[in-house]
Amino acid sequence: MELLSGGEMIARALEDEGVEYLFGYPGGAVLHIYDALFKTSKVPHVLVRHEQAATHAADGYARATGKPGVVLVTSGPGATNAITGIATAYMDSIPMVVLSGQVASHLIGEDAFQETDMVGISRPIVKHSFMIRRAEDIPATIKKAFHIATSGRPGPVVIDIPKDCTRPDEKFEYHYPDAVKLRSYSPAQRGHTGQIRKAAKLLLGAKRPIIYSGGGVIMGESSELLTALARKLNYPVTNTLMGLGAYPATDRQFLGMLGMHGFYEANMAMHHSDVILAVGARFDDRVTNTVGKFCPGAKIIHIDIDPTSISKTVAADIPIVGPVQSVLQDLMEIIDNLQEKEPQLPDATALGRWWQQIEEWRGKHGLWTGRRYGESDRIMPQQVIESLYRTTKGDAYVTSDVGQHQMFAAQYYKFDKPRRWINSGGLGTMGFGLPAAMGVKLAFPDMEVACVTGEGSIQMNIQELSTCTQYNTPIKIINLRNNYLGMVKQWQDMQYEGRYAMSTYEDSLPDFVKLVEAYGHVGMLVTKLEDLDRCMDEAFAMKDKLVFLDIFIDPMEHVYPMHVAPNGAMKDMWLSKNERT
């Protein structure tokens, strides 16, 4: 058996795990590991400019590929800088393994240089964490970490590694385990058949059904199954922000996103439904509006791999714990059997009436109310997303930051495929978009990758423009520039009588074109609507260049629809500045 040092075992284990990219930043506590990587590893390392970006890049990579993102940071500030990215991955159930350096074992607890209790600090935002105590435990621990991060409901796992466990002069027998068994961890493999049977009956008996699907369908690789089920039954589908792309957005049965900034018809259909099939979604407060008023006439079937997601906020009538894929397969089979016996199900007349009602809602408002096209000669933010959609033929990977631009992108880019829409849904992390796009582009160098952002968010991790230069990731950055923190301003308009408390930059914004040029990229300024499509085309025609489109948009535009809150129901929405349901 081969003898390897702790550092070498880490390098080798990552190879054996099939890791394609390692995102990281060296420092004192991880120098033995970096030296081992330098000497032996075949895993390419991406040197970011800030550890937060390492976690977001690994996260973007994971969302786009379905494989775990891997991060290596040093102790102390390296570890704490990674925290925001770990929390982001945790909230959105993204598989990630974070290796953090730690001061040598004998120094732990002594407030040593660059010491921080990483296991303690990260505890509430990880699926699990490990502290290495003995170097010989490294391979098995790495195996366990990958297993936990990627199975069940995925999530980030931290491995904290004291420096002495990686020293080059102490060698150990290296063996990377093929499988791992943890007595206290066994995610459900199948849903309960009795429950699935009940769900099938309820679903087939529905008169006003709706399928509400979330990120779990994408994480569970079940988009095709979900689409097949919906088409078979001719039931309407709505997706959460995290679930966009799970059902093709250009399909007639798709009602658009639901929730706070959801489509009118999606929220109306949810509110008036009699049966909701919730799949891999978690009834987040940005979806439900006031829980007590949520969909009063609906029976709820809730499929989720994580039992804690079920009946956490909204009580499920038929809870089903299990992987979305196997549960949907079983559900399809049972529905087939039931329909053989009772071919008249579901009730076509009732369903016809339901669709008629939905089409009425769709025709009445759709997403279009409140658009101020033609009212000013400014570029409207929605037009930018439509232009992006047209240029990329709806087939790009789109990452976003957080704010108005994120909602416009979610509303106006019609995602037909899963894993194309990459955004921080749960934590709402500004600064996510650029590093995430970097991770996506490294995974899919031949695909178009666009980062939709705003001048607030982009400045939170703008240093990564330098990483993009070093690793040649020619992404396209679409900056919706309105000179405000747009979503903050929208709330201040709506709830604070237009007092823009600290949500403007005055004259302090950089010349983004010059800035990106300084990093070796291309910048384009777009101020007129007539130039928008042409500039968008030109930007994407520069295949091997990172292009930053600084697009001046109408600063007064709001995102609509918007749930009326507090105390509103799903159906209570602002449709424009002066029109509400």
């Binding site: 509430p124 964490s129 206290s184």
Partner: protein
């Protein structure tokens, strides 16, 4: 409603903090907490009492089960069970109070485990309620110190919590 939750926990560093952290992170209460190793050195047994409505309790047990270090868990209050809390209480014992304290201790089937010229230390075991009653009965005395182990519990009959 008050519940007694008993947990078999991996005897790993940091495992306890995950359980405690979960309660503070999600806004649940812990009223008492008792934790010690078991006959299996890889496991600790943790008993905690908490209060909450059925929905909260369902979330607490599900969230606890989700922790990788939690091997097994039971809500003892769902069935017949025995609960014990142990108290050591030090009281000023001089003059005629000395006899009075001794009598009350006997009534509660407590033991005086340390005797000083002016103090008694009494050991008492029972349900939390019984210990509360004893403290109330000692109202006349000058209580110097009270220490309680927190509730430990076990199911009655054949039911066991083990791997």
């Amino acid at each position: 409603m008050r519940r007694i939750i008993s947990i078999l926990l991996e005897n790993e560093p940091g495992a306890l903090s995950r359980v405690i952290g979960l309660f503070s992170q999600r806004g649940y209460n812990i009223e008492t907490l008792n934790v010690a190793p078991t006959e299996d050195e890889t496991l600790s047994r943790l008993t905690l009492t908490t209060t909450g409505d059925d929905k909260t309790m369902e979330q607490i047990t599900k969230q606890l089960n989700k922790l990788v270090d939690v091997v097994k868990l039971v809500d003892l209050t769902e069935g017949a069970h025995i609960e014990r809390d142990m108290m050591l209480i030090k009281v000023r014992a001089s003059g005629q109070m000395r006899d009075e304290i001794k009598r009350t201790t006997d009534i509660f089937r407590g033991q005086i485990v340390d005797v000083g010229p002016n103090t008694y230390t009494i050991q008492l075991t029972g349900t939390g309620e019984k210990l509360d009653s004893f403290v109330a009965a000692m109202a006349e005395a000058d209580i110097l110190e009270v220490v309680r182990s927190g509730v430990a519990g076990i199911a009655r009959g054949e039911k066991v919590l083990r791997l």
